[in-house]
């Protein structure tokens, strides 16, 4: 038994919470998990620890002797980053990008899921249509938005010209201007995020108990009140699942930035991920790049951990 040492009342509570009443099977479950854990240790954990070591050295790929650890100089890469304006700018850009992109994706998907829950004509066809952005690899999303927002041949400017809203000479430099470059990248990432979020929120909305809404209607609740005080709180576990799943893949935004602007022009859209590539792959400064990698790992894990904790708190007890 797991909880042998706990008091009896705690034990009962634990049992009640474990509504699936999982089976006790000794070491058998560990044998099932072992291969997965081994692979992850080998391919993710060990390289990450190695990368932590590299981050304490001044390693550059073209100078093989530079991979040596000296305690006195161990934190030099991190010091360099703290004094690097471009690092701070890319950190700031990353935070702004994540904050706006995650919130905007969530709000749009929430609204869309409420709309889709009311659709009576062609439900299943609409859901297939909703999944269309899922068919795009992130790198494809970036490519197509780079093309659509291209100043000279892009769809968006051509469309605006056709409508007579802008002149041929006055084409908008979407990917170049501040803050348009950032906005365009955020638009691309929101477009990519919408399907999974909406699908989960829609499934949640459709699973809500009808009686609650009927009772609210009897009490004269308005549509907005029903959403604000019933639908939205009851959707919490679904919201956190959606956000947890999204947070797992948050760094795939790198693909979009890399192909759309590659951090430019003049580092206006530089983010941590693109800056790592520039430092480590292009300038072969693996030590410095690894130090920055660790900062992104830390951020990503924190992000996922936060949403996962919220999810555990909000879970439905059946």
């Amino acid at each position: 038994m797991l909880a042998k040492s706990k008091s009896t009342s705690e034990n009962d509570a634990a049992k009640q919470a474990d509504l699936f009443n999982r089976i006790d099977a000794g070491p058998f479950p560990f044998l099932l998990i072992l291969p997965s854990v081994l692979v992850i240790l080998l391919v993710v954990a060990f390289p990450l620890i190695y990368s932590l070591y590299v981050s304490f050295t001044p390693y550059e790929l073209l100078r093989p002797n530079s991979l040596n650890f000296q305690l006195a100089k161990a934190l030099r890469n991190y010091q360099k980053l703290l004094n690097d304006d471009i690092f701070w700018r890319s950190l700031w850009n990353t935070i702004v990008f994540l904050a706006v992109s995650v919130n905007l994706s969530y709000v749009i998907s929430l609204a869309l899921s409420q709309l889709l829950a009311r659709v009576t004509v062609g439900q299943s066809l609409l859901r297939t249509l909703l999944m269309v952005p899922m068919m795009f690899a992130p790198i494809l999303v970036g490519m197509q938005f780079r093309w659509f927002f291209n100043a000279n041949v892009g769809l968006v400017n051509n469309f605006l010209i056709s409508l007579g809203l802008i002149q041929v000479q006055g084409q908008i430099a979407w990917l170049v201007d501040v803050p348009l470059g950032m906005i365009t990248i955020i638009l691309a990432s929101v477009w990519m995020n919408i399907p999974v979020l909406t699908i989960i929120l829609l499934a949640g909305t459709l699973s809500l108990p009808t009686e609650t809404f009927e009772a609210a209607e009897v009490d004269g609740a308005s549509g907005w009140q029903k959403f604000r005080f019933i639908t939205f709180p009851l959707l919490a576990p679904f919201s956190y699942i959606a956000l947890t799943i999204m947070s797992l893949d948050i760094a795939r935004a790198f693909d979009i930035v890399r192909i759309m602007t590659d951090g430019g022009p003049a580092r206006r859209t530089e983010m941590l991920w693109t800056y790592i590539t520039r430092l480590a792959i292009e300038d072969t400064k693996f030590g410095l790049g690894s130090a920055m990698s660790w900062i992104t790992v830390f951020l990503s894990v924190l992000f996922t951990l936060y949403f996962f904790r919220q999810l555990v708190k909000a879970r439905i007890v059946r």
Partner: protein, 289 residues
């Protein structure tokens, strides 16, 4: 379910909701239509001004050029290599990741054991490590082991990348199978393994297919790790291939669109096949357990 407003407004509201939903979703899907259409248009229609919105003629020129069937255009993209590498890396990694991840997912769904939540969380967190961050040490280690530019080295990485999400999905699917079934299997004399292998695994096959397609697509679409680990066409897959293409031929939008359409084929199949299962696998994590 949402209850609808009653009374004379109801019909009008219904029409508005439906129309709005259709308009918004058509707008969302528009980019995909545009990309597919561009791949099959003659070049003169693409780069002209004023723009030609509706194609007057469709052609397979872009694909003839890409596969070197047009004698006037020298073949310049190693599509065959990308296709082979993508299929190999995504295919092998999917088979291994789904096998291992399913075992793990079953353990989390069915059994009570020490460090249940910690192990689950640890596996999930390994997925949140950004590919860029992981690619640097992997490059150094793979260089030493002679595994760079190797499709199977790449596939090995994708196994680790795909295990967490497979475990998450399969945990959800296994939890939907009633526990009584397992218990009655035990009463009939099944051991833990044969209850899993003979009773529960066959029942979870639709879920398994969903997880497999998900893993395949994740590997198929992966860009960050492969672009560091694969420096030549021996291991380059489609995403870095497309990226190289956009760098080299910055204005050949039709060529890019044509490549994109090939990249989208597995995803289109996925959307058609697993829609329904995907939703139930994703949302079951909302239930406590």
């Amino acid at each position: 379910m949402i209850t609808r407003s009653v009374g004379p407004n109801r019909r009008r509201n219904d029409i508005i909701w439906n129309a709005a939903a259709w308009l918004i979703l058509l707008f969302l899907a528009l980019p995909a239509f545009w990309i597919i259409m561009t791949a099959f248009r003659p070049n003169v229609e693409i780069n002209t001004f004023p723009p030609v919105w509706i194609p007057r003629r469709l052609t397979l020129e872009a694909y003839a050029n890409m596969f070197g069937l047009n004698p006037e255009v020298q073949q310049r993209v190693a599509v065959e290599a990308y296709l082979r590498n993508s299929l190999l890396a995504a295919g092998t990694s999917t088979i291994v990741a789904v096998s291992l991840g399913t075992l793990a997912g079953y353990a989390f769904a069915r059994f009570r054991f020490r460090f249940h939540t910690t192990l689950f969380l640890g596996i999930m967190l390994s997925r949140s490590v950004p590919g860029v961050a992981l690619s640097l040490p992997l490059f150094l280690l793979f260089n030493r082991a002679g595994l760079t530019n190797n499709v199977f080295g790449l596939a090995f990485v994708y196994v680790a990348v795909n295990i967490p999400f497979t475990a998450w999905l399969m945990d959800g699917f296994f939890r939907q199978i009633p526990q009584e079934l397992t218990e009655s299997a035990y009463i009939d004399g099944c051991g833990h393994w044969s209850a899993f292998w003979r009773i529960e695994l066959p029942l979870s096959l639709p879920g398994l297919a969903t997880a497999a397609i998900f893993a395949f697509l994740a590997a198929w679409n992966e860009f960050q790790i492969v672009s560091v680990l694969a420096r030549n066409n021996a291991a380059k897959t489609f995403p870095p291939g497309l990226f190289a293409f956009t760098e080299q031929f910055t204005v050949d939008w039709r060529g890019m669109a044509a490549m994109s359409v090939i990249m989208m084929v597995p995803a289109v199949i996925f959307v058609i096949l697993v829609q329904r299962n995907l939703v139930s696998g994703l949302t079951f994590g909302a239930v406590k357990g």
